[in-house]
Symmetry: C2
Subunit: 207 residues, 2 copies
């Protein structure tokens, strides 16, 4: 992470541009964001912006990549522990729900979906740095728990995907399609405990 390893960045206000651009992109999407807006938001002239990035596309890609990395590193601290599966899974479910209900999660998802034709690599990059990590961590935990005789799972990849999917029940559609009012703490609790119970009904070891 020394200062000279990036071939693109030169000049003092590189960071400002990335921050401002991310702000505008996540507010207006790729097409919706105008370069003038980004320059204004960044507190930087358009000429300066274009001295950093050859075009809007590249700027967007750089912003998205950086943001994904940031998110990935800062959420990778919590690791599976030896508590009872109910506890561990409830914790994991809570974090997942927190993430995709967050402003950030939702906006990134929206942009990925909307712009996936223009930027096929964007969706992959996001998945790799987000959902894929969570999934890998879950699978690791499954192995440990199975070794301890707490779970019994043959297809661990599928199980991890199912668990993640169960956490989205109801909540996700409501958010994506704008159904129902704001999501209350009770709504979240209902889905989380429901997910854990269903998951354990299938993969938990009786007793």
């Amino acid at each position: 992470m020394n200062a000279a390893n990036q071939e693109i960045k030169r000049g003092r206000k590189y960071g400002q541009v990335l921050n401002g651009a991310w702000e505008v992109f996540r507010r207006d999407g790729f097409e919706g964001a105008s370069v003038d807006d980004i320059a204004r938001e960044s507190g930087v002239s358009k000429a300066t912006l274009y001295s950093y990035f050859p075009d809007k596309r590249l700027l967007f890609l750089e912003v998205a990549k950086g943001e994904c990395c940031r998110q990935a590193t800062e959420s990778s601290d919590l690791i599976p522990c030896k508590a009872a599966p109910v506890t561990v899974l409830t914790g994991a479910a809570t974090r997942m729900v927190d993430f995709f209900l967050s402003d950030f999660g939702m906006r990134v998802f929206r942009i990925c979906v909307a712009e996936s034709d223009r930027f096929p690599e964007l969706g992959r990059e996001f998945y790799r740095n987000g959902p894929a990590l969570a999934r890998a961590r879950l699978v690791d935990y499954f192995h440990e728990a199975e070794a301890r005789g707490e779970l019994r799972i043959t297809d661990k990849d599928l199980a991890a995907d199912q668990f993640a999917e169960l956490c989205k029940a109801d909540l996700f559609s409501r958010l994506v399609f704008g159904i129902g009012g704001p999501i209350s703490a009770e709504d979240r609790a209902r889905v989380i405990t429901g997910a854990v119970e269903t998951f354990l009904a299938r993969y938990g070891v009786a007793g």
Copy 2:
């Protein structure tokens, strides 16, 4: 459904425009579609198009609404039967997977997500005419099956959402984010049977 109940439509080529517009919208999205393209695709002059619809937005809304209705009516034929839950649920899962893996399902989803800021009512309309119907049908079936002693479900709404969500495991991310190659019949079968098994592990009646 008489011919004169629509206040907007007048003129011979109304249908052509709707068809052509849907074609272009689903290919290029809302922003990506140009009105000239739509007119060309519809085999209609721009002037004619604008004589039907005051602007692009209204045209899009009308197209989307119509398409949702069409989809809703033509998929509402299959109803829950008295077969064993495994059979019924497998059938339901297959239909759900078929739908959201279809070109249509994916495109509508993409447009809804991308355009939900511009058209909040669009997402709601789609959900009402699509997922909500499937959910209601599932809940109905749950009632019947429970009366027959085949299932035991307290929160039937949540169960329906969970089932739908389980059907998306793995497949959905792959499609949305463009991960992995094309989805094979084996992939689908794996997810479908997995969904049914997990669901029945939780809500099925032992024996």
